[in-house]
Symmetry: C2
Subunit: 254 residues, 2 copies
């Protein structure tokens, strides 16, 4: 646990935050919680989804890990966009180039502080999900590791997770498919996030969900706070459905 | 990852195995998978549930962690039982004393090998669940940590988990209750185990489930291998129920 006096320079400890992306035939969903923490006595709310709409493209980045690292990375991505002479999210030709660019900025940020953080035994690592659509290209999503390399969501495994990913994985394993409609994928992201919130105090609302359909569709976003009637309605329906599914199980002879 | 040449002396790496216990008003359920591993190229099947029926008592221990540690611990528990002059699972007066006894044996086993294992960078730790019923006492379950101390399942949190516990926790958080019948608790343990198997290759069948009812009921056990018709039937019903619950969720406006 990080001592109080170092919080301002070290950002959050791990594992906190849960972000995911779902790839479907009709678009991409990116979703995240909003909990940040430097220990259980220092929980705050920070937005983990960052969006850019630039000329012919829409980009969404979800962040998990050291908060100082992810905020500095975002600031550098913004600076690159503002400087017309540099490679940036505004100039990359496809989503893999976007992930590579983001990975370079992320790794440079981590390296900049590595020695100071390691001297105090603090991890500066962060992982990102980079999703987007460039021109008329297909929407897609990639997971960028702290080392700057990346993997893409694929039709066989159409989801990516960063942060506290285990609690929310069983329902993705059972229900995620590129056949889902974009609204269904958003609901599945919500179910996966809500399972994580229920089981782990370091992940919490508001929940942000962004949908990015194929061109020419526009991205859309919803932010669900703890008391949001839509979140409560989904929760109640899911709990009731789970209870019914459990009650309908055949008995095992023991 | 442990090199091949050291496997025989170091037991398994972590995290593998998933064991849990559920406390209900009518008894206790203990369940475990049977996967052991010293790396993904060395997966084996080992029973994780160990049972003793001794005069006025039934004891069940579930083990997760370094396999050499857990097997040596069990051997020492057996030696203590065989020696009428020593404290053992046969002599302890209640379940807390049982957990304390097991914890002392576990910690002594870990300490015996600590220097040699640490010299090779290997963790010798293990965690155990100790469940049982002594005389006409209530059935109960405790989690014994590698340091030898323990916590008990309680009515508010009527489940204990060791090993790879995150994937199987969301359904316990939603459904576990002391109001469950013993057969229902066994089904819930199966659902929790199956979620973990689906999401993590280091946890696998056969699945062992032991039920221990209040006195004068006798303990019972079922072992479900991968192709067991009962396991397949529960899996199919659960997947179908989950799909129905998902399909019935109210739409979220995005």
């Amino acid at each position: 646990m990080i001592a109080g006096s170092t919080r301002a320079t070290t950002g959050e400890t791990t594992p906190v935050t849960y972000c995911l992306a779902l790839l479907t035939d009709t678009g991409v969903v990116v979703a995240a919680d909003s909990r940040t923490s430097a220990g259980p006595d220092y929980l705050n709310t920070v937005r983990k989804l960052h969006r850019w709409s630039l000329a012919d493209r829409h980009m969404v980045i979800a962040t998990a890990g050291n908060l100082a690292t992810t905020q500095e990375t975002n600031a550098e991505l913004d600076r690159a966009i503002a400087d017309a002479g540099r490679e940036s999210l505004a100039t990359v030709g496809d989503l893999w180039q976007a992930a590579t660019h983001v990975g370079q900025v992320l790794r440079a940020t981590i390296d900049r502080h590595r020695m100071a953080l390691e001297a105090d035994g603090v991890a500066g690592e962060a992982s990102l999900i980079v999703a987007g659509r460039i021109g008329d290209g297909d929407p897609g999503a990639l997971l960028v590791y702290p080392q700057g390399n990346a993997i893409s969501a694929t039709p066989e495994t159409p989801f990516l997770q960063i942060g506290e990913s285990k609690y929310g994985k069983p329902m993705l394993d059972r229900l995620a498919s590129t056949d889902l409609g974009l609204d269904e994928a958003a609901l599945l992201a919500l179910v996966s996030l809500d399972a994580t919130i229920r089981s782990n105090a370091t992940v919490g609302p508001p929940l942000c969900i962004v949908t990015l359909p194929r061109a020419p569709g526009e991205p859309a976003e919803v932010v669900l706070d703890e008391g949001d009637p839509q979140l409560i309605a989904v929760r109640r329906a899911w709990e009731s459905g789970i209870a019914s599914a459990f009650a309908a199980l055949p008995a095992v002879v023991i």
